[in-house]
């Protein structure tokens, strides 16, 4: 029997732009644009319908860098709505919305608590009859770049009742996120807090149980790096501090990466059909429940069409054709559950006997051996890529490229080709190799 129930959400990133899409028709773009707000609405509805006692939000409600007045106002309205329902909210600010940032002036209504930045503050939560249910403590980021260990400042107030810690932190320095307020799992486990309501990492994860260390992930995916269902946790706490968690998706648009086999496909037509079939299957899938989706398709398998598929223009055209149709449908029916193709990537292989070429004492053999060498040595590959694109990176484009890659890496100031970038580098290398083979062996008998 649960003695109380609360909601744990984080990383709302209201009104932040979605990344990695271009040439999106307005109706679709508007729906994706408003997805973070929709997620917020669903969050509020869910809190009310689930009759949670309170809500904890572990940072990054909005990106102050974006300076969206709209985002802040909408969030304030949502908080007022929750307050009017008698649901308390505990907010810890994170690196994207630190207290030092330009927040709009706002007098939070009764029951909406924002944790201070200068030290952990604790609130006692009572039930309607005045019985003490739990302590909720937390701390906000005072400045955008907090590199202190904030987790160490948490102390259980009263071990006899449930202790909840709300913090925006990077546990054990997850590589793909900015290492803010770093903490260690061991430290959190030993802290005496029963439930660590964390934020910052956009991928959902339960790092530990009893005590619970939980990342609910963000409430709405915003790029192809943030795929799958996004939402929040509804947590039931029982008398003996046992915790039962249910994930609820709140995302209004689902981002997906799907692999499609074009193994042995014989014609362009066939590849297009397989793609269309896969996309329709996504649209109809129960998991989506009528949500629109943004999809990256990754083609795989051995096919004689490899050369064609590897030429990005064909894939772009295929994606464009599909997207145009989706755009038309959305034009006529604004609520149409579109499936927008972010891109189609080919990881196919051709029927060229690469192994044979690799063994040859020839120019092509040398080339393939060189590529293989780069492929296996990341440092060398990075150096190579940097050397090759040096001119570009040094130019005005450089800062935008770094920014784009930084976004993917999740934090500013990473290496140019960060952890996620390496994957991309290998893909580029593959494509370069395919392209060269195609050109060099053109007209030859070696394919």
């Amino acid at each position: 029997m649960a003695i109380f129930r609360f909601m744990h959400a984080a990383d709302l990133h209201l009104d932040s732009p979605f990344r990695g899409l271009s040439d999106v028709p307005k109706p679709i773009r508007d729906r994706i644009r408003s997805s973070t707000f929709m997620a917020l609405e669903r969050l509020v509805e869910l809190a009310i319908s689930e009759q949670v006692r309170f809500v904890v939000i572990a940072g990054d409600v909005y990106d102050l860098e974006d300076r969206s007045v709209r985002a802040q106002l909408r969030f304030q309205r949502a908080m007022e709505q929750l307050a009017s329902e008698g649901i308390e909210v505990y907010i810890a600010h994170g690196n994207h919305d630190p207290l030092s940032g330009k927040h709009m002036q706002w007098q939070p209504p009764r029951g909406i608590h924002v944790f201070p930045g200068d030290g952990v503050s604790a609130h006692a939560v009572h039930d309607r009859s005045g019985r003490l249910l739990a302590h909720v403590q937390g701390i906000s980021f005072a400045t955008p770049a907090v590199t202190d260990n904030l987790a160490g400042k948490f102390r259980p107030v009263d071990r006899s009742v449930f202790q909840i810690g709300v913090l925006h932190t990077n546990v054990d320095g997850a590589a793909e996120h900015g290492n803010y307020a770093p903490s260690s799992r061991a430290e959190l486990v030993a802290s005496g807090i029963d439930y660590w309501a964390l934020g910052h990492i956009h991928a959902r994860g339960i790092l530990h149980e009893a005590p619970h260390i939980v990342y609910p992930g963000n409430t709405q995916g915003r790029s192809i790096r943030e795929t799958g269902a996004k939402g929040c946790y509804i947590v039931d706490v029982e008398e003996d501090k046992a915790v039962r968690m249910r994930f609820h998706s709140t995302d209004a648009v689902r981002w997906l990466q799907v692999e499609v086999s074009v193994e042995a496909a014989r014609s362009e037509q066939e590849v297009q059909e397989r793609i269309a079939r896969e996309l329709e299957a996504i649209r109809e899938s129960a998991d989506l429940a009528g949500r629109p989706a943004v999809v990256r398709l990754v083609l795989g398998g051995r096919t004689s069409l490899n050369r064609l598929l590897r030429s990005s223009s064909w894939l772009d055209e295929a994606a464009g054709e599909w997207n145009r149709e989706e755009g038309r449908r959305v034009e006529s029916d604004p609520d149409y559950p579109f499936v927008w193709v972010e891109s189609i990537r080919a990881q196919t292989s051709g029927l060229i006997d690469r192994e044979r070429l690799l063994g040859q004492d020839s120019f092509v053999g040398d080339l393939l051996r060189l590529a293989d060498e780069l492929r296996t040595d990341e440092a060398q590959l990075e150096q190579f890529a940097e050397q090759m694109t040096e001119e570009l990176l040094r130019s005005r484009a450089g800062k935008y490229i770094r920014e784009g890659q930084a976004v993917y890496a999740g934090a500013a100031g990473d290496a140019v080709h960060g952890a996620v970038g390496r994957e991309e580098l290998r893909e580029w290398l593959d494509r370069a190799e395919e392209w060269l083979l195609d050109r060099l062996l053109e007209g030859g008998d070696q394919r």
């Binding site: 932040s16 300076r67 080339l367 005005r396 976004v407 580098l425 190799e433 060099l440 030859g444």
Partner: protein, 1072 residues
């Protein structure tokens, strides 16, 4: 291939010359002074192998100067040792044409003759150009790099071993470069990435602006607050100005009214001051005066009407006594008509009474003449009595019907008895006759037996006969067998004897031969066998005779048994089959006598069978007759039973009849006594009694009607008498004599009319009196009012201080004027009050008093201008406010900023896509470049490696490597210190050495698959220093191991060097 002889018919300056070349000398050095024909020889070798130069190039064609035949021949030793003679002349070929390259004839050792094709086969697919450049060249060719760069050679030089064509690599590199160019250039404008970056820059600045706008949200909100305050201040000011101008408007509007007010007030002050004048005095006076006149007239009229009424009253005089009794009189008058009709009813009732009395008399008479009315009335005719009568009637009728039924049944039974009796007698007679008939026949024993026993006996008899027959058959069979046994016994006897002998001999023998015990055992065994056989034989004999006797005995027993049984049944002896039997007794005696004889043939089986059959037939017939007899007896007893039954039933009916008669009598007695109880004549039948009851009922009805009529007569009489008495009493009270002559009814009616008249008069009298009284009261009131009015008039005069009417009227006129003035004052004030509220009236008066009309107008104009100014200011402020509000709204809900952010993201996405593309091409470019570097460094073509080797040899290790940059048609040499030099930077000699090394390498690499063509070098070492020339000869020596080398020189030192360094070389001197 080696050239062993050169035969020149005519070529240039040379004619009919033959040079023999040593076939085993690797190097042939031909030396001689200038014009000795060295170059001609070299050209001759080229020409024979590849054809003359075209006629257009006369210098190169070497046509003979003197008319000798143009051409000659080469004798070749092929690599496989065969010889070939190749001759080429400028002569017509087989087709009669005369090709410029001349006509070639190849004659092989084996006699094969061919033309160009055969020659091509011998020397391989090397073109003349290649041959001229790398096989047979002079200093001119050597000094030109170009000669190495022909397409044909470059393949060897640059691409060999690459696996792909160098051009493909170059082409690919070009494409990569183009793609990269298309996407990006460091300071480009049109490239995709550059354009995107430009857009991003632009967008970023927009975004910065937008962000600052977003940030200014608070400042703008504050500004909005300030604006709102200003606006409300201005609005307040405007409000004040507007109210001021409204006031001034009112002042101006009310000015006229105010002036009127002032005038009226002044006139009022001038009027004489009176203490008081009654309010509305004149009007009131006039009214009172008029009223006084009216009242006086009214008083006179009233007095006249009262006098008239008094006259009328005197004429009325109603009778008071009669009026007092008015109620009684009127009641009696109302009854009068009813009394009259009662009298009529009374006479009718009397008539009816007489009629009913007569009817009753007649009805009684119908019942019984002697009966009185009282008797009839005393008879109980209730429903119970009537049902008792019907009860009697039904019971008696039922009993009578029952008696009739019994009588009919008795008659029927009598008739039945009469019918049955004759039939019974007939059956008895028949039975007697049948019994007698049966008794007369068959006195057999079986008749004494019960049918079961009879059947048993018959069965046993048949079985005995059967057994007898069986025994007879067995006896016959036994006799046959005995006969056979007797014959067998005769055959067995000798065998027994032999066995007996053996029994004796064998044991004795054994005893003698073996031992005693064996002999004894054998003897015992044999004896036993003998015994057994003997027994068998004997037994057979005895058994046979004994069986036959036994069967004969059996047969006898069965015969007797059959006889005994037959006797038991028939009670007599059976008779032989053939014999006729006169009597039973006789036959029996005879049969017994035959039996005693035992085995008499007369009592044979056949006879017995026949007798038994006869017996069975007799028994059957007898049984059938016996059954008939039994049936007759059954019928008789059945008829007897029926008769007894009928008699029994007749008796029963007779009893019932008697009982019924008694019951009927009892019923009649009861009925009579019932009648007697009620005093009715006893001889009445129930039906008649019922009728009598009905009649009595009718009579009783009539009695009841008459009684009712009589009652009515009495009632009517008493009512009429009562009325008459009342009338008499009335008259007594009126103290009037009751006139006898007239009926009470009439009297009453008359009286009623009189009293009605009296009542009318009394009513009229009262009404007149009431009227008179009213008028009198009114008269008094009128008089009062006249007095009051007069008092009022004099009061008014007094109040006004007037002595008479005329004075009063003068005073009244003055008063009226004052009031008019006061009214106009009031009107003016109310008009002012209508313009301004009453509270503000004083203020208004003050304003009007203090300000003149022009002053007011001046201020009005002033304030109006102020208002216009304020209004435009407010308008302006409102515009600003609306603009700010809109802006803030946009900030709150607007998507512009978000759109910019989004657009930026999209541009970044697009940029990244193109960057990815660029990176792919950049990597491709890098890959190719790196591979090329590797290739150039580590995988130079064999030719270059070989050339490097030769170069190193020739230069004594100063230059270690020859390189061909990838895909480029140029060469680079690398010095021992690693410095790479372009050929252009080499000294002439070194350059020549390089080219020579390259040629050597090419020649070596060119061998595979065809003849090793001789190398012909025309004085190429002239620019070499001694050391390098020597090293070069070393190389040549090396090369000459695989092919013939012809060297031409005009230098003696060269000849000496060759002869000293290459002793095996053939030296041929040419004469100038």
């Amino acid at each position: 291939m080696r050239i062993t002889r050169i035969e020149i018919a005519g070529f240039g300056a040379m004619r009919d010359a033959v040079l023999e070349l040593a076939p085993d000398a690797p190097i042939v050095l031909l030396h001689g002074p200038n014009e000795a024909g060295k170059s001609t020889l070299m050209q001759f070798v080229r020409s024979v192998l590849f054809g003359f130069q075209p006629r257009s190039q006369a210098a190169e064609r070497y046509a003979p100067l003197s008319g000798a035949t143009h051409g000659g021949a080469l004798l070749l030793t092929l690599d496989d040792g065969r010889t070939a003679h190749v001759q080429r002349y400028d002569a017509p070929d087989a087709q009669g044409k005369r090709p410029s390259r001349g006509t070639v004839t190849v004659t092989l050792e084996d006699g094969t003759v061919g033309g160009e094709e055969l020659l091509r086969r011998l020397i391989g697919d090397i073109t003349e150009d290649v041959y001229r450049n790398i096989y047979a060249f002079g200093l001119t060719e050597l000094q030109e790099l170009r000669t190495l760069q022909s397409d044909e050679l470059s393949g060897y030089l640059f691409n060999a071993g690459m696996g792909v064509s160098g051009t493909a690599v170059l082409e690919t590199e070009k494409q990569v470069a183009a793609e990269l160019e298309r996407l990006f250039r460091p300071r480009g404008k049109k490239q995709t990435i550059n354009q995107l970056v430009d857009q991003l820059d632009q967008l970023s600045s927009e975004l910065r602006r937008s962000r600052s706008v977003q940030e200014s949200y608070h400042a703008r909100r504050a500004e909005l607050e300030r604006l709102r305050e200003q606006l409300s201040a201005a609005e307040r000011e405007l409000g004040e100005a507007e109210s001021r101008i409204a006031w001034l408007d009112k002042c101006l509007q009310s000015r006229q009214a105010w002036q009127e007010l002032r005038a009226a007030e002044l006139e009022l002050q001038e009027l004489p001051v009176r203490a008081s004048f009654p309010k509305d005095g004149l009007r009131r006076f006039e009214e009172e005066k008029l009223r006084l006149t009216e009242l006086q007239t009214m008083r006179d009229q009233l007095q006249a009407k009262m006098a008239a009424v008094e006259r009328q009253l005197r004429e009325l005089s109603p009778d008071g006594q009669r009026l007092a009794l008015r109620r009684e009189i009127e009641q009696l008058a109302e009854q009068a008509s009813m009394i009259r009709s009662l009298q009529h009813e009374l006479s009718n009732a009397r008539t009816e009474d007489a009629q009913l009395a007569e009817q009753a008399r007649l009805q009684i008479a119908r019942i019984d003449d002697n009966w009185t009315e009282a008797q009839v009335a005393g008879l109980n005719t209730s429903l119970a009595e009537r049902s008792a009568i019907t009860g009697f009637r039904d019971r008696l009728a039922a009993l009578e019907r029952q008696a009739e039924t019994f009588a009919a049944e008795a008659a029927r039974l009598q008739a039945e008895k009469q019918r049955l009796l004759p039939r019974r007698n007939e059956a008895a007679d028949e039975l007697t006759r049948a019994k007698e008939a049966l008794r007369g026949r068959h006195p057999g024993r079986w008749t004494e037996l019960a049918p079961d026993e009879r059947r048993q006996h018959l069965h046993r008899l048949n079985r005995a006969l059967q057994s007898w027959r069986q025994a007879a058959w067995e006896l016959a069979a036994e006799e046959r067998r005995q006969q056979e046994a007797r014959q067998r016994g005769r055959r067995m006897r000798p065998m027994l004897l032999a066995l007996a002998a053996l029994t004796i001999i064998l044991p004795v023998g054994l005893f003698l031969l073996a031992d005693g015990l064996t002999a004894i055992l054998a003897a015992a065994a044999l004896l036993a066998v003998d015994g057994v056989l003997l027994m068998m034989w004997r037994h057979q004999e005895v058994d046979g005779s004994r069986g036959r006797e036994h069967i004969a005995r059996e047969m006898q027993r069965w015969s007797e048994e059959t006889m005994a049984l037959y006797m038991q049944l028939s009670g007599e002896q059976p008779y032989g089959a053939a014999e006729a039997a006169p009597s039973y007794a006789g036959r029996a005696a005879r049969s017994r006598s035959r039996m005693s004889e035992a085995g008499d043939a007369a009592w044979s089986i056949e006879a017995a069978a026949s007798a038994v059959e006869q017996l069975e037939l007799a028994i059957e017939r007898w049984q059938s007759e016996e059954r008939d007899l039994r049936r007759l007896a059954d019928r008789l007893s059945e008829l007897d039973e029926q008769l007894a039954d009928v008699s029994e039933r007749q008796q029963a009916i007779a009893e019932e009849q008697a009982a019924c008669g008694q019951a009927l009598e009892a019923g009649v007695d009861q009925w009579r006594s019932w009648l007697a109880e009620r005093g009715l004549p006893t001889r009445l039948a129930p039906e008649t009694a019922l009728e009598l009851f009905s009649l009595a009922e009718q009579a009783k009805q009539t009695f009841r009607q008459r009684a009712a009529v009589r009652q009515r007569i009495t009632g009517y009489g008493s009512r009429i008498a009562e009325f008459e008495e009342q009338v008499a009493r009335l008259f007594a009270r009126l103290s009037e004599p009751l006139p006898d002559s007239r009926s009470a009814v009439e009297l009453v009616r008359e009286l009623a009319e009189l009293v009605a008249r009296d009542a009318e008069q009394a009513e009229r009298q009262q009404a007149l009196e009431r009227q008179w009284n009213e008028w009198r009261e009114e008269l008094e009131r009128t008089a009062d009012r006249i007095r009051q009015t007069e008092a009022l008039i004099s009061g008014l005069w007094q109040e006004a201080g007037a002595r008479d009417e005329a004075e009063f009227r003068q005073l009244a006129a003055q008063e009226e004027r004052r009031q008019q003035l006061q009214q106009s004052v009031k009107q003016a004030i109310s008009r002012l009050e209508w313009l301004v509220s009453p509270e503000k009236l004083d203020e208004l008066m003050h304003s009007l008093r203090t300000m003149g009309g022009s002053e007011l107008e001046a201020e009005h104009a002033n304030v109006g201008a102020n208002i216009a100014r304020l209004r435009s200011r407010i308008e302006e402020l409102r515009d600003q406010r609306a603009k700010l509000e809109l802006e803030l709204d946009r900030l709150r809900e607007g998507t512009e900023h978000a759109e910019l952010e989004q657009r930026r993201e999209e541009l970044l996405a697009e940029l990244n896509r193109h960057v990815a593309e660029y990176s792919v091409y950049a990597m491709a470019s890098g890959l190719v470049r790196r591979t090329r570097t590797i290739y150039e460094r580590e995988r130079q073509p064999k030719v270059l490696r070989q050339a490097s080797h030769h170069m190193a040899v020739i230069t004594g290790g100063r230059y270690v490597r020859v390189l061909a940059p990838f895909g480029e048609r140029r060469l680079i040499v690398e010095r021992h210190d690693g410095l790479q030099l372009d050929t252009a930077r080499l000294s002439r000699g070194t350059a020549e050495q390089l080219y020579l090394a390259m040629r050597f390498a090419l020649v070596e690499s060119h061998d595979s698959g065809h003849e090793a063509l001789p190398l012909v070098l025309d004085d190429i070492l002239v620019n070499f220093d001694e050391e390098r020339a020597a090293r070069c000869l070393e190389c040549l020596a090396q090369i000459s191991q695989h092919r013939q080398v012809l060297m031409f020189t005009c230098h003696d030192y060269m000849r000496d060097m060759v002869s000293s360094l290459l002793p095996q070389a053939q030296l041929i001197g040419l004469k100038g």
